[in-house]
Every structure is written in C-alpha cells, then in structure tokens.
C-alpha cells in the first residue's frame, strides 16, 4: 500500500510534536475538584483505551476481509492491529491501576469495565500467541479467532456488567468540563496519529518480510 507508506513519516512527526505539546495543555486544564492532580492521568488513559478499542475493531474487520476475500494485505493489517491492541492495552492496564490506587485505594477492582478490558486484551494476546506458535496456517486460524473476538465484545460487556459495576461511566467524556476539552481531544488526536503511524509501519514490515521470504525461496530453487 504505497499510499499508507507515505503516511508514515508525516503522521509520526505530527504525533511526536503533539505528544511533546500535550503536557502544556494538560497542565493548563482546570483541576478536577474531588480528585485533583490524579485526574490528569485521564488525558492519557482514556485516549489509549479509545485507540485500543478502535484497533480491535480494525483487526476484526481486516480479519473478516481476509477470511472471505483472501487478501494478503488484510491479514497484515489484522496482525499489525492486534499487536497494537496489546500495546495500547498495556498502557491502559498500567495507567488504570495507578489512578485506581489513588481514587479507590486499591490497585485492582473486579469491576465491569476493568474486567472486560482485561478479557479483551487477553483475547488479543491469545491471537498473538496463535500467530507466533501456531505454525503454518495460523493466519486463517487467527482471522477466525479475531472474528469471534469481535462478536464476543457485547457479550463480555453485558455479562461483566451484570456481574459488577463501579467505574466512572463513559458519559464522563460527554459531560467533560469545557476547560478540559481541548487538552483531552488534543491527546486523543495524538494517540490516533501515533496509532496510524505504527499501524502503517508494522504492516509494511510484514509486507517486506513476506517479500524477503519469497526472494529467499527463489534463491533456494
């Protein structure tokens, strides 16, 4: 995908500039009255979570396309997206407990959103394990798993919700203090740009790996 390749440098550069400028905006955003300084992690935690879920969706759709359309590019995009789900998931699962320690007094709660995020993250870790250790044919199996993982999201969400609830609601984003909005959406944009840059570079890596293998095989013959 030459178009995507050209996207890499500009998106990465812009993302880096935005990340560098983000602290200034976050510092100037108003303090949350009850939580104070701890709330600032929200500018990092929520955008990472949004990117993670978007990436899971990208992986599921690309897998579906690969499973039924058999396009090699779709498979590479799916693999790249799955790796990024795990990466951004680590950010979410590390920043979450840091906040929870201050706000709730414990590192981990078996609460609906935490648990469902952990389950989602584990599905994609399983996907990567399958791709890594499944041997030949694991690309199709991975695609199957990703489609199941995507269909599973509402069920995990509902079941875990009926099981437990304590996390700040998603409506927090909509009812955000106007003073906090610029810093928040700035962070979201930075994360999305970083995501696009990483996705393109990882997809290209997979593409070149395949090409290299092809050359290797041609030499062997």
């Amino acid at each position: 995908m030459p178009m995507l390749n050209r996207l890499f440098l500009p998106t990465l550069g812009l993302a880096l500039v935005m990340f560098a400028a983000a602290p200034a905006l976050i510092v100037n955003a108003p303090y949350e009255t009850t939580m104070g300084l701890v709330q600032k992690i929200f500018y990092f935690h929520v955008p990472a979570a949004m990117t993670m879920f978007a990436s899971a969706f990208v992986c599921g759709l690309a897998s579906m396309r690969y499973l039924f359309g058999r396009r090699a590019t779709a498979d590479r995009v799916a693999l790249a997206a799955a790796e990024l789900v795990v990466l951004f998931g680590i950010i979410v699962l590390v920043t979450g407990p840091i906040w929870a320690r201050k706000a709730w007094g414990v590192w981990w709660q078996w609460e609906a959103r935490l648990t469902s995020t952990l389950v989602m993250w584990m599905i994609f870790v399983a996907y990567l394990l399958l791709r890594r250790y499944g041997g030949p044919g694991s690309d199709r199996l991975g695609a199957g798993l990703a489609v199941f993982g995507m269909a599973n999201v509402p069920f995990v969400y509902v079941s875990v919700n009926w099981w437990r609830t304590l996390h700040p609601k998603t409506s927090v984003v909509m009812t955000l203090d106007p003073g906090m909005r610029p810093a928040f959406w700035w962070s979201v944009a930075a994360f999305v740009l970083l995501y696009v840059a990483l996705l393109t570079v990882r997809t290209r890596l997979a593409e070149q790996r395949t090409r290299l293998e092809g050359i290797h095989l041609a030499l062997d013959d």
Partner: protein, 230 residues
C-alpha cells in the same frame, strides 16, 4: 430448501453417530473426562472447604470450572483421534456441506459433555451441600445453554487447531477468553438458582446464554468452511 435441510440434518446425524460409535467401542474419552472432572472437584474441595464447610457460593464456580476443564479435554481428545488417523481430512473431502460436518461434531461433543454433567452435578450437590435442584428445569436450561455455547466455540477452535503446532496448549488459550461470558453466566446463574427468590435472575442469565448460543453457532457454521480450507 427442505431437501437441503434434510441433507444437512442427515450428514450431521451421520457424523455424530460415527463419533459416538467410535467412542462407545472404547469409551476412552467418556471415562477419562468424567474421572478428570471428578478429580477437579476434589482438588477444588481442598482449596475451598474451610473447617469442614464450603465457602459461600463456591459450588457454582467449581461446577462450571469442572465443566470447562473437562470440556477442553474432551474437545482435544476428540479431534486428536481424527488427526492421528487423518480422518478429518477424509471428512472434509466428503461431498457434503461442511457446516453439516461441524454440526455433527458439535452434537457428538455436546452429548458427551451432557453425560459428564449428569455425573458431576449430583456429585457437586452432595459434596458441597449445594441446593442445586431447587428449580431443576432452570438448572437443566442453564446447563444445556451453557454447554452448547462452550461446545460451539470449542468445536470450531479444536477443528481449526488440528493442523496447528502446539495445539494442546493453544486450545485453552484461545477458548477461555472467548467463553468467559458463558462461564460468568453459568456460575452466576447457578448461584442465583441456589438463592431464595433468585429465579428471575437465573432466567436472565439463561436468556443471555441462549443469545450467545444463537450468535456463536451461526458464526461457527458461517466461518467453518473458511477456516478449514487450506
């Protein structure tokens, strides 16, 4: 249309009968899986019985973990049998609907697991003084819907892993995160049954499981051919 449905059901029935006939000759999977489930329950008893009394609600969890563990074992063994004799390839070459083959395998595993459950449910009820049979119909519905959901995903994954390396460890690694809704619904539903006035809650869990079954059986039938062709 009706001819197609008839053909589908006939193939599914034949595949299931084949699996059960093979199984009934040795009863290997049935005996080993049932004994494994019983050992699981025993091992859990050492963890969750304090001063001779089980911890609250623990029986529901133990029951469903035993089902999930035993189910994984049964799934792995069933497809290992097909793999060593390379009969799965023969099945896939047969001139019939691939989804019907999946349905047949699913029915075989389902029956096997229901057999195991007939043994372990009374065992849990006896050993943990659990009032599992307060509303027997709800319990049956919960077990049937839960087992179907677990087996539907499990059969597809076990079938696709037949060709994969490290399939033994990959099956539970892939299966458990996906079937977490089944486990939660099963455990919470069973716990609700044992409680005074918990029936509406248990019914809600059954409804969720039925919904899960519909989605995942459909999805499995739809993707089976795509993931199985090389």
């Amino acid at each position: 249309m009706s001819a197609w449905i008839g053909g589908f059901l006939r193939v599914a029935w034949l595949v299931m009968r084949k699996d059960l006939t093979v199984e009934m000759r040795s009863r290997e999977i049935l005996y080993t899986t049932a004994f494994f489930a019983a050992s699981c329950i025993l091992v859990f008893a050492f963890g969750f019985v304090k001063q001779g009394r089980p911890v609250d609600d623990v029986s529901a969890g133990i029951l469903w973990i035993a089902i999930a563990f035993a189910g994984t074992l049964a799934l792995g063994r069933t497809f290992e049998r097909e793999r060593t004799n390379e009969t799965l390839q023969a099945l896939m070459l047969a001139p019939c609907d691939r989804p019907a083959v999946y349905a047949g395998k699913l029915l075989g595993i389902l029956l096997l697991l229901l057999f195991v459950e007939v043994l372990i449910v009374p065992m849990v009820a006896l050993m943990f003084q659990a009032d599992l049979f307060r509303s027997p119909l709800l319990l049956v519905a919960l077990l049937a819907a839960g087992t179907l959901g677990f087996a539907a995903v499990g059969t597809l994954f076990a079938a696709m892993l037949v060709r994969a390396r490290s399939r033994d460890v990959l099956l539970p690694v892939l299966l458990y995160p996906i079937t977490i809704p089944v486990i939660i619904a099963g455990v919470r539903g069973t716990a609700a049954i044992m409680q005074e006035g918990g029936e509406p809650l248990a019914r809600a869990w059954v409804a969720m499981l039925v919904f899960f079954d519909v989605v995942f059986v459909t999805l499995s039938l739809w993707t089976f051919e795509a993931v199985m062709t090389e």
